[in-house]
Assembly symmetry: C2
Homo-oligomer: 310 residues x 2
């Protein structure tokens, strides 16, 4: 059940109302892979610079289900670095600085041994880079892309070309509105399906998520939590939990030969929700690195009880 | 299974991005009773003025399960009137005018024949009025109160006295934050339980609801809809659906002799969610007045499928 992800690996400097973390491991690819690795083996395609030190690398190594063969180290370059600050209202995030580093260079290459990957996740990066990687997997079972406001603004043509090729897209409510011109998440979701994808997952942060699929709809609240110390990576972790569940279930139930069903994606939303609820409890990957299988399954069961209707 | 509600009856003048309605039936008691009446007979205790004309009265009569014996008409007074405007962002509502009318006078009296009511809902009005009505029902199975920012600001002592007496409270996320000083809805909900109630339902509008109960928690998304023409009364309808379900289920399952359970309230959230999703489709009570049992049950089943997890 090989799951592959491309996206950014970053060195984050983060300030929240509850503390500060200097130069910690972050990035869309990282959060996705760490989260997905609880459910399925994950292959990373990403690049870092010579400044990606052993200490930071050791954080990645705490996720044994993440394969780093596709992690390119470019000794003369610098790792992507991002500084951000969250205001008291968690929904407002200020970018303090962005140093593109390796992201301004050629995208990383996919190792030959990754070619049999069936589940492809294109974590947030330039849509042309996402589309290039996607072309290397003509026999995939499913491809899902994330994106961000920057690309909707600056690379819409490339983004639309990407959307015509993927099965699904995962984005937040503001991005969905920006992409489609519709504030209503359901209307926005339907408009995204017109652009090509079979489904759109609209993430609403603390307010949960909505799945608009050609075969139906699903909606879930977020897991109600009082412990939010750093929301960075919540959305990427959500994608990881969802795709990890899809990869595991699809390979087990159909040996990968049938299409991924609406129900697999729908159930995946719960796995994404729960893993994201752990991510936000601590800075960087700390909570996920310490997370046990029984904590994860315990909270998932608790969540199922919370939303259960007779 | 007699359910009783006190609160306001209003003549509303409403403007939304989708239209305008002049002098239509509204008020917390009205929306609650209309919504609850799909599940249980409802008794109204409220007052109107001499200007409450036959046309407006005939809208109420479209809900045959609503008993209006407790509706006092004061020919020399005026009905409470409210004018409001919703901005493009549905969450922002401007009050254009408020004419208290009968609300500035003595509260309506509870008819003797209503004394055997077992399920008491105190829709939004002054907490002293709510508490006075409540005292008339010492043998109730459950009492639940709604409130608003105005009373938290201007009548907090009276509101706290009320909260010490009720089993549950229904309020929106902003009101919960204002009452407790906690922005996090879960923290706010727990703080409300410290004030006396066994449970708090925190309504989040388009983002669903959260139930914090001494016996557990529950959370539901809103029903995803593209049809929002007038959000007035959504919260009161939610309360009506919830209490109507509780009244029906509790009287059927325990003949009213056992306490109302966490699960009854939890399931009630779904009924509140669905009935509110119809309310917002049209101005005033129009959609509820036209609503059929099969439409209601159809959407409820659809909603259950949307949130169902394996």
């Amino acid at each position: 059940m090989p799951l592959i992800v491309t996206g950014t690996i970053g060195i984050d400097t983060i300030e929240t109302p509850f503390g500060k973390a200097d130069q910690v491991l972050g990035g869309s690819c990282t959060y996705f892979a760490a989260a997905a690795s609880f459910f399925a083996p994950v292959r990373m395609v990403a690049a870092v610079g010579g400044d990606f030190d052993d200490h930071t690398r050791s954080t990645l190594a705490r996720f044994p289900n993440v394969c780093v063969v596709g992690l390119e180290t470019r000794s003369d370059s610098k790792t992507f670095a991002w500084g951000g600050k969250y205001l008291n209202n968690w929904n407002t995030r200020e970018t303090i600085f962005t140093e593109l580093g390796v992201l301004a260079e050629a995208p990383p290459l996919t190792p030959e041994e990754y070619r049999d990957s069936k589940y492809v996740f294109l974590a947030n990066s330039h849509p042309s880079v996402q589309l290039d990687l996607l072309k290397g997997f003509p026999d995939r079972a499913i491809a899902v892309a994330d994106t961000m406001d920057l690309w909707i603004d600056t690379a819409k043509t490339e983004l639309l070309a990407l959307l015509a090729e993927v099965d699904g897209v995962v984005l937040n409510d503001q991005e969905a509105a920006q992409l489609t011109g519709h504030q209503n998440p359901l209307t926005a979701g339907k408009a995204i399906l017109e652009l090509g994808p079979t489904f759109a997952v609209i993430k609403k942060g603390e307010h949960g998520c909505l799945l608009v699929h050609r075969d139906g709809m699903a909606a879930l609240p977020a897991y109600p939590t009082e412990t939010v110390n750093d929301p960075t990576g919540a959305g990427d972790s959500f994608g990881g939990g969802m795709m990890g569940h899809i990869a595991r279930t699809h390979s087990a139930e159909h040996f990968g030969s049938e299409p991924v069903t609406f129900n697999m994606i729908r159930q995946g939303l719960a796995f994404g929700t729960i893993i994201a609820s752990f991510t936000v409890e601590a800075f960087s990957l700390e909570r996920l690195a310490a997370l046990t299988e029984s904590e994860l399954m315990g909270r998932l069961e608790e969540f199922k009880t919370m939303v259960a209707l007779d």
